[in-house]
Amino acid sequence: MDFSHEEHLIAILASLLKGVGHVAVGVASPIPGSASLLARALSEGSMRVSILGSRADQAWSDTGVEMFDCAAQGRIDAFFFGGGQIDGQANINLVGVGDYPHQRVRWAGSFGSAYLYFLVPRIILFRPEHTRRVMVPKVDFISAPGTSAPNVHRPGGPTALVTDLCLFSFDAGRRRFRLESIHPGHSVEEVRDNTGFDFDVAEPVTETPAPTPDALEAIRGPVAQSIAHTYPLFANRVFGIGEEVAP
């Protein structure tokens, strides 16, 4: 069964949500949002999904502080973050490139990362672009640190990193990523060539599995319809549904 690159990423992220009771999805996250809806569909309804900005898929009667309070109480099990830069210790930078504050490249900002990265047990890093400008030796601004000193209250943190090329796990004790699987058509050498930090390699490294027919059916059906409410441009581009809005 043929599938698009986006559909594959959705399926990979969904596979990392196995066993999660409540996953929350932040802003600017159509693929993680779709993955969460897919994981819920495949969990036969036992998973709760909260998508920020969605009317139908959210757990809260407040659109602001409640999600953060919820996370601090341990009521959110998984969350996604990206990163304009990500380094080998899983520090993430959502602010910009160059000397802060007047950086030559400026992104939107840290959002809730400096908080949720500490408190949500399963943080999945998702950054499609896998290049040396993203996967850097050291980030220019730490929006949120990958690990903390032992006395810092930190029930949460990064557990995985998914890119266009591969899937890494993260070991907070060793403060290092480990390459777990490579997406079809790519190689360990290609990952190394495009990564600015050193990482461990699982033995053996496997090929990332393709989406199952059940997953693809769910993605193209209920998942596409739901995500279109929050991300109409994405749904139009990837699934061809809804009305096109001029870019």
Binding site: V27, A28, G53, R55, W60, S61, D62, T63, G64, V65, E66, F68, A72, L94, V95, G96, Y100, P101, H102, Q103, R104, V105, R106, W107, A108, G109, S110, F111, G112, S113, A114, Y115, L116, Y117, F118, L119, F141, I142, S143, A144, P145, S148, A149, N151, V152, H153, Y231, P232, L233, F234, V245, A246, P247
Partner: protein, 272 residues
């Protein structure tokens, strides 16, 4: 309490004010924003609760902002906020980078009359490393438990757009409860609304819990479609075509000036 129009409402916002505004989808008073730009407001300290988009970008591009305190500025699906990005690289605005829960916590401290609010997370980030108002303190109830203290944020003015007010000056906000926190924390609260109801909102159990009592409201004015081209939850969606066009035009300073001329009939002077 009731002002005849938006211009007289924003006359209460002096240049240099610390102005709190809500995130894009929570009820942004774009009507008041256009009026501030038209007046040529200067040196605002914009506190975004906790993020912003078109509102901050327009104010920055038009030269109204001295400092922006926020957890993010983005045009969401339409792309980066072009005037914000240019102003940062040029160094023409001051930046107080924050994180969403810290902005909420600062406002919550102010609404309780407290000097600060403790907050988990953040330790070791450059957000706390780059500012002096978020020290690490010791939890007095546990040994060796460092925790962040977020200084209270008391805005001079909270400004937003809501679906409904009543004749008493009570304002219904639905589930956008950060607007309540903003109103509690700020010295003055200015609101544009879609409609004014004759019946007292606080007398109705369905509306009361999501209504800001007039105690906290300084002034209100009617502004139909006052969030346009942004949306207002439960009332109308965003105008995607307009937002896409804004991003396309504002990609250059000339295009931004052209946008102000076409859409606000403003000839920018101090703009970028």
């Amino acid at each position: 309490m009731f002002r005849p129009d938006v211009d007289s409402l924003v006359a209460s916002i002096r240049d240099g004010a610390r102005l709190a505004v809500p995130k894009t989808e929570a009820g942004v008073s774009m009507a008041a924003t256009r009026s501030l730009i038209g007046r040529g407001a200067k040196d605002l300290h914009l506190v975004c609760v906790p993020t912003s988009g078109l509102q901050a970008d327009l104010l920055i591009g038009a030269g109204c902002v001295g400092v922006i305190e926020c957890a993010g500025v983005t045009m969401d699906e339409y792309g980066a906020a072009p005037a914000f990005v240019r102003a940062v690289s040029k160094g023409s605005i001051g930046l107080v980078d924050s994180t969403c829960p810290a902005l909420y916590a600062g406002l919550q401290a102010a609404e309780k009359g407290l000097p600060f609010m403790p907050l988990r997370g953040l330790i070791g980030s450059d957000i706390v490393g780059r500012r002096d108002d978020m020290p690490v303190i010791d939890n007095p109830f546990a040994a060796d438990d460092p925790i962040i203290a977020v200084k209270a944020i008391q805005p001079d003015v909270a400004l937003f757009h809501a679906p409904l007010a009543d004749r008493e000056g009570n304002v219904w906000i639905g589930r956008q409860r950060m607007l309540m926190t903003m109103a509690h924390a700020a010295r003055q609260t200015l609101v544009t609304v879609e409609d004014i109801h004759d019946r007292n909102l606080l007398d109705d159990e369905r509306y009361g819990p999501a209504t800001i009592p007039s105690l906290y409201i300084s002034a209100i004015t009617l502004a139909a479609k006052g969030a346009w081209p942004l949306g207002l939850p439960g009332r109308y969606g965003e105008d995607g075509g307009h937002l896409a066009e804004y991003c396309r035009r504002a990609a250059t300073p000339e295009g931004f000036a052209e946008y102000l001329r076409r859409n606000l009939a403003i000839e920018p002077t101090a703009a970028e």
